[in-house]
Amino acid sequence: MSNGKVTLLEAVNLALHRAMSEDENVIVLGEDVGVNGGVFRATQGLRDSFGFKRVIDSPLAETMLGGLVVGMAAQGLKPVVEIQFMGFIYAAMEHLVSHASRMRNRTRGRITCPMVMRTPMGAGIRAPEHHSESTEALFAHIPGLRVVIPSSPARAYGLLLAAIDDPDPVVFLEPTRLYRMNPQPLLDDGKRLPLDSCFTLREGSDITLISWGASVMETLQAATALAERGVSAEVIDVASIKPLDLDTMEASVRKTGRCVIVHEAPRSCGVGAEIAASLYERVLLELQAPIQRVTAPDIPPPLYRLESLYMPNVEDILQACDNVLHFA
């Protein structure tokens, strides 16, 4: 932390310290989270502050982690488990789909799974293969789960605290590209931000730009470029991928009549498709142009020499905005 400003990564770390000091049932576990403080250092210092019983270095087995936290949570602990990279989360998937997300319903509320599964997501850090995916849509499709993606230090802090408080399982996805970028002032006051809500980052009247995760950065830059051309863009950070705050998005699109959705994940069956379909159901006749999506193509993230082609950039977003703004 320098000059009272913190990065998104430091905000995650601050939230974990705060949650662990507020509630002794909160425990942190995962691969390399203890002595090493996590491969990105998100859990740095927790072991020294809270001891080895609450900050646990686990065997290298993601299926095990997915199952273990179901048992821990059922016993009243609040496990916050780190999966080292999103590319390795799939081994834990069965426990999310078949157990964590369903236990409350299966038992009519007798057994619950208050847990958070954190994992770094996304491309853009020249990482090795399997370290760059954005597969949030897979998780958003699971009833009973919440999926949250912060895009700033303040939202990482407030949303992670809210996720840990939440009585149901939350998948918390942290964009690695933003981890150490743009430090911002943050008051470590324990204030929670609401789950299930969008954040309107910039108000505007001509077009609505909807994004989440690392792409929020380019989306904001596109809005600035549009403003220079006299176009007033509203920017919404979806943040809560499941459930979606469609009311906020609907109100914005009703106002602007134009919408571009930007996400780093592949297009087909991406969360952008769900948002677009829902908006068409609600505001079809108020749209001045078809909704446009700016996404990765339906391909695996390429190795890093060409990964910038995979991620939408400001120009791509502006191109889509032009299409929408000049449609008939």
């Binding site: 425990i27 019983k53 609450r54 686990s58 065997p59 087995a61 299926t63 095990m64 997915g66 199952g67 273990l68 936290v69 179901v70 048992g71 821990m72 949570a73 059922a74 016993q75 009243g76 602990l77 496990p79 069965e94 426990h95 078949s98 157990h99 236990m103 409350r104 319903n105 299966r106 038992t107 009519r108 509320g109 007798r110 057994i111 619950t112 009833p143 009973g144 939440d166 009585p167 149901d168 299930d196 459930p243 979606l244 705050d245 469609l246 009311d247």
Partner: protein, 364 residues
């Protein structure tokens, strides 16, 4: 043979109920033996009734526990109320001993989630039966981790079949249980069949118990049809786990006398001769013969017991059939602690759909 590991195997009674050696002191307690026997009979009668209810369309698919009563009754008898059961789907015997009501088991297999909302306080923290194979072994390790973190002297007991020991979840569970020396007991009901796949082609290791050795803790085999042997070994295993001496894998050798489930037809893949042979070794008759030989059981007591158990089963069936169906909103209201406001429209749509289908306008 490099992979040969010598592990203990325990059996006290021969298939025809003859004593093969010295019994542990606890077996002198004939009241205990009677309780164990009674519970096996109750389980078997309930199980038969459940199959009959499925055959007549009153419940859905059911996984019979026929022939494996001794294992479940032993586990249920030895567990303390404060321990936690993380069962698989062929665990009627243990569940009944934990205080899960017969009507709850019928509700579950009869298509109603209330069947996993156990009313009995001793079962309040027990998991519902687990259908995805072996995944429960990891949940048990999580439960045991919670006990260990909090310094509680409680044991997580999880059960599975022989097929489950082939799954990664099972092996990852053994690994973490050994690494952290968790208070967990893995009870493997090796009933020789994973649907149609026999034990001999399920795994190349001579025993399933030896998988514990690779994970760094104790494993052993026991005759799962010998009530006295299983009770003894489950008792030792739980005691060991409770006192911080680490996990145990107990492989109970039994035989699945029934079909995998009521949707299965085992005659497609195994011979009548094999099943006939297995009936000669089944656990209920075995303990009964021993007790008769000891002079603590006779035909009169047997008839009285059967009549008592049939009455209990019938009452449960009556309660089950009187339970009615849950309200439509029940399928939505337990998915989250509070149904998200942002999904409120979906709830309304569901209730409208329910109203349309019943012709009931009260939801409109």
């Amino acid at each position: 043979m490099l992979h040969k590991v010598e592990l203990p195997y325990t059996r006290f009674l021969s298939p025809d109920g003859q004593l093969l050696g010295e019994l542990p002191a606890w077996a002198d307690d004939f009241n205990l033996l009677t309780r164990l026997y009674r519970q096996m009979v109750l389980t078997r009668l309930f199980d038969q009734k459940a199959v009959a209810l499925q055959r007549t369309g009153r419940i859905g698919t059911y996984a019979p526990t026929l022939g494996q009563e001794a294992i479940g009754v032993a586990v249920g008898s030895v567990m303390h109320a404060e321990d936690v059961l993380i069962p698989y789907y062929r665990d009627t015997a243990v569940q009944l001993m934990r205080g899960v009501r017969m009507e709850e088991i019928l509700l579950y297999w009869g298509g109603d989630e209330r069947g996993s909302d156990f009313a009995e306080p001793a079962a309040a923290q027990d998991f519902p039966i687990c259908v995805p194979i072996a995944t429960q072994a990891l949940h048990a390790c999580g439960v045991a981790s919670a006990f260990k973190i909090r310094g509680e002297h409680r044991v997580a007991v999880t059960t599975c079949g022989d097929g489950a020991t082939s799954k990664g979840d099972f092996l990852e569970a053994l690994n973490v249980a050994g690494a952290w020396q968790l208070p967990v007991v893995f009870v493997v009901n090796n009933n020789q069949w994973a649907i149609s796949v026999p034990r001999r082609i399920q795994c190349g290791a001579p025993t399933l118990a030896q998988k514990a050795i690779g994970a760094g803790f104790h494993g052993e085999q026991v005759d799962g049809n010998d009530m006295l042997a299983v009770y003894d070994r489950v008792h030792v295993a739980l005691d060991r786990a409770r006192h911080g001496k680490g996990p145990v894998l107990l492989e109970c050798l039994s035989y699945r006398l029934g079909d995998h489930t009521t949707a299965d037809d085992a005659t497609r893949y195994r011979s009548a001769d094999e099943v006939k042979q297995a009936w000669l070794e089944e656990p209920v008759k075995r303990l009964q013969r021993f007790m008769v030989d000891q002079g603590v059981w006779d035909e009169g007591r047997e008839q009285a017991l059967i009549s008592e158990c049939q009455g209990l089963v019938q009452r449960a069936v009556d309660n089950f059939e009187a339970a009615g169906t849950q309200a439509p909103e029940s399928i939505i209201d337990h998915v989250y602690a509070q149904w998200p406001a942002s999904l409120a429209g979906q709830r309304e749509e569901l209730l409208e759909r329910a109203a349309r289908r019943t012709g009931d306008a009260s939801h409109e």
